[in-house]
Symmetry: C2
């Protein structure tokens, strides 16, 4: 850290940075002219990258991703399929002459869904499409047949807690935002088990449904009985609530084979373009290669992984080599709690000081709008100057914080500056963790633009005469 401190202090004196915290956008920056001029000198580089994705490399991110998804489909941690997909990416990286290509072993959980079903038996018979939640226990082989109670909140559950024993608790919480509503998926089982529930069925966490169940990770609380837990559709949660309010007796039969196998060894995939003058200093572009075991994992996070991989491949093919190293990392075990990223951070903790900037795209690769950064306000100012070079892509928006790059957590927590891809992802949670996460969600042009943004920003940051300042108060 001590290396950059004098420079940082100098920069802080020279610049005045004002950010409007109200709407999280940059209000006013006062970067020095020399910094502005240095960044402006990369306009030609930015133009070449944009020309490349409009020319020779047009559609290449989509095509790489499409071939990969067609070959492997979804890739859950612990599965042989994920490891095959990782082998494929390592071989592909070597074929494209990327540097220092290797996998780094990570122990990941190996949760297996197995067969599963939920059936409404009374007041009428109806199949309830469902997806067991990651880390859920299964039911006994014969299933669980129980009366159900339906609540719309934890508060309501508490009010009827004396009626919960021996029942299946159905949550019909209203979707407000992913962040707010996902607590029902995460904590719903243990909150109900506390009162003696035998299973939970939770309304899928999505703002829109075509009778679509969504999965995701859940977390059992300590010292509470682990009960089977799954998400059902919005429609069925609403229907069951209607029946319950009418005073109908609801019987549901739940069968889940969900269980853990012993932890497995997976790998983070690493590929680089070595830096010229500071090969030890690193800019990371990344996405995660694992996915849930439903749909195809094309959006979450095939798109993020492949703009990260293709950006490096295009820079390499164009012969661009920056002062610092540009490293693509495809994380494993993201869906089970950023397992690959935290393992990498731990394994490489002595190199954290050399991480200049970390980027991840894991909130969609729809039409890119700009970047969401975490770090000192001045980081936003520098990013704004860089993105201004990409006016042609219409990707000049700067927001904070970087909330679409969960694998960046260990480094952002240590003050390393980083960013996620801001994109027109209004429908992201329509598809997220469901059978609808397929190649139909992805489109060539937004992926090209995402790749160009990723490549240009990574290259320019990796090549600047100065490091991106870290947040020393956190470090």
């Amino acid at each position: 850290m001590h290396n950059i401190l004098p420079w940082l202090l100098n920069l802080l004196v020279l610049t005045l940075v004002l950010c409007n915290e109200e709407d999280n956008t940059i209000e006013k920056c006062n970067l020095s002219n020399s910094i502005k001029q240095e960044i402006a000198s990369y306009q030609n580089i930015a133009n070449q990258i944009i020309a490349a994705i409009n020319g020779k490399f047009k559609n290449s991110t989509y095509n790489h991703l499409d071939e990969f998804i067609s070959e492997f489909g979804n890739r859950i941690s612990g599965s042989k399929n994920l490891e095959n997909a990782i082998d494929y990416m390592i071989i592909k990286s070597e074929m494209y002459n990327l540097e220092n290509v290797h996998g780094e072993d990570v122990v990941v959980p190996h949760w297996v869904r197995g067969e599963e079903s939920a059936t409404l038996l009374h007041p009428r018979v109806k199949n309830l499409p469902m997806l067991g939640l990651g880390s859920s226990v299964g039911t006994p082989p014969e299933g669980i047949l129980a009366k159900a109670v339906v609540v719309s909140s934890f508060e309501e559950l508490k009010k009827i807690s004396s009626k919960v024993k021996g029942k299946i608790v159905v949550y019909n919480q209203k979707y407000t935002s992913y962040g707010e509503s996902v607590i029902y998926r995460r904590d719903g089982a243990s909150m109900a088990a506390k009162y003696g529930a035998v299973a939970t069925l939770i309304e899928s966490i999505t703002p829109f449904s075509l009778a679509t169940p969504h999965t995701g990770w859940q977390a059992y609380a300590d010292n509470i009985t682990k009960i089977p837990t799954a998400c059902i559709t919005r429609e069925d949660a609403n229907m069951l609530h209607g029946m319950y309010k009418r005073g109908k007796t609801i019987y549901i039969k739940l069968k889940m084979e969900a269980h853990f196998l012993p932890p497995a060894i997976s790998r983070n995939v690493v590929a680089e373009i070595k830096g010229t003058t500071h090969p030890d200093k690193v800019v990371v572009i990344s996405g995660h290669i694992d996915s849930w075991d439903v749909g195809e994992g094309a959006m979450d996070d095939g798109g993020g992984a492949f703009i990260s991989w293709t950006a490096l491949a295009i820079l390499k093919a164009m012969g661009f080599r920056a002062k610092r190293t540009i490293r693509t990392i495809l994380w494993t075990g993201e869906e089970e709690g950023y397992i690959g990223a935290f393992a990498y951070a731990k394994e490489h903790s002595n190199e954290t000081k050399n991480l200049n900037f970390v980027m991840e795209s894991d909130i969609g690769t729809f039409t890119p709008l700009g970047l969401k950064y975490s770090g000192l306000p001045i980081v936003g100012c520098i990013i704004q100057e860089i993105l201004n070079l990409l006016r042609e892509l219409n990707t000049t928006k700067v927001l904070t914080p970087a909330d679409g790059g969960p694998d960046l957590t260990p480094w952002l927590n240590q003050g390393v500056p980083g960013a996620s891809l801001d994109n027109a992802n209004e429908r992201y949670f329509w598809y997220h963790h469901s059978a609808a996460d397929t190649m139909d969600v992805e489109e060539p042009e937004p992926l090209d633009k995402g790749t160009a943004l990723w490549a240009a920003v990574a290259y320019i940051i990796a090549d600047l005469s100065f490091d991106i300042p870290k947040n020393l108060t956190v470090l």
Copy 2:
């Protein structure tokens, strides 16, 4: 017919009607002042009906429908559940003091889906969510395991016809409009069987999918081998096409228990408010009570059936009795080809001359916009005058023809004027014939407005001093 002829000729002389056929909207009408004044005199009636759905009867269509759907769910022709639902509506109609309440027997097909599945076995294993198509034969109990070919059109199928024998044909036609694309669902099996295909899997007929399969009726051609046929998701059709274009060998296992049971007796449900001076003359408001065997049949056609039923119930409760009879009909067997409507038309053919105006809502009960009519241009002018009384509802749009009332076909074909509900149904085919056709699609306010429009138009037409002119060139 002879009764109205002089009046009609008089009207034709007195009025000049010009319709802009380009955009199917009324361009210019020149109704006589006396007709305009007579229609304008119903403003107070219209206002009372609007006040009622904003007051005492607010949400009542939604609540009636919600209770019905909660109780019965989907209701396929031939099922006991449909007959239970019909009994329920007959009893409910009597409870609400509707008149001449009865069911009229209709023989309907009894197609049963049974268990069904499609599994991609090579180049990788993936479950292919699917829905067998109505009237499809099943597979042998062990299923059909065959190589697949994928085409995007009948033209392409013809080009590779020599490769089709013994194969499963997958159609990946692009959705353009329902009318254009549905020919693949209707004719796809026989078109492929002609070249020796053993089964067909057809991209679901929808402009948007969340991995959603859609069902619907299909029609085997005469003298062509009947092969099992089903719809798969847009996403999987695209995926399989991608694999096929890459030269992958595709193996699919298809299992379908689909079969016909002997035809069953179902019923059209009839309820009326008898006319005062012309009880034999009739205005019909209608929707169909049967549905597909997936989802809940809340949109197709629960909404249409319940605005028709509730409009009559509200008119009755308000003590409104027109000169002519207003008859609500809930058709059965619509999904298998308007079976109930054609049976009714045949059974009551001698009463066709007394049908003054026929209405059906079967293309959604989203926010109503107005009416789509079929008939002489002057009919559009009369409807426009009537809808102008409903300005408060914002439902004054008049279009032609009446393309959302398929059960009206036998009468419209004979020149009887009629109309369907024009509504903001841009998403209709997202839900249509799928598991997503649930109460989540329906909303109280649009249903209230649809009911008010239905009640006001039916009452005013039934009460006017003149009959709505028929198209004598068709008659």
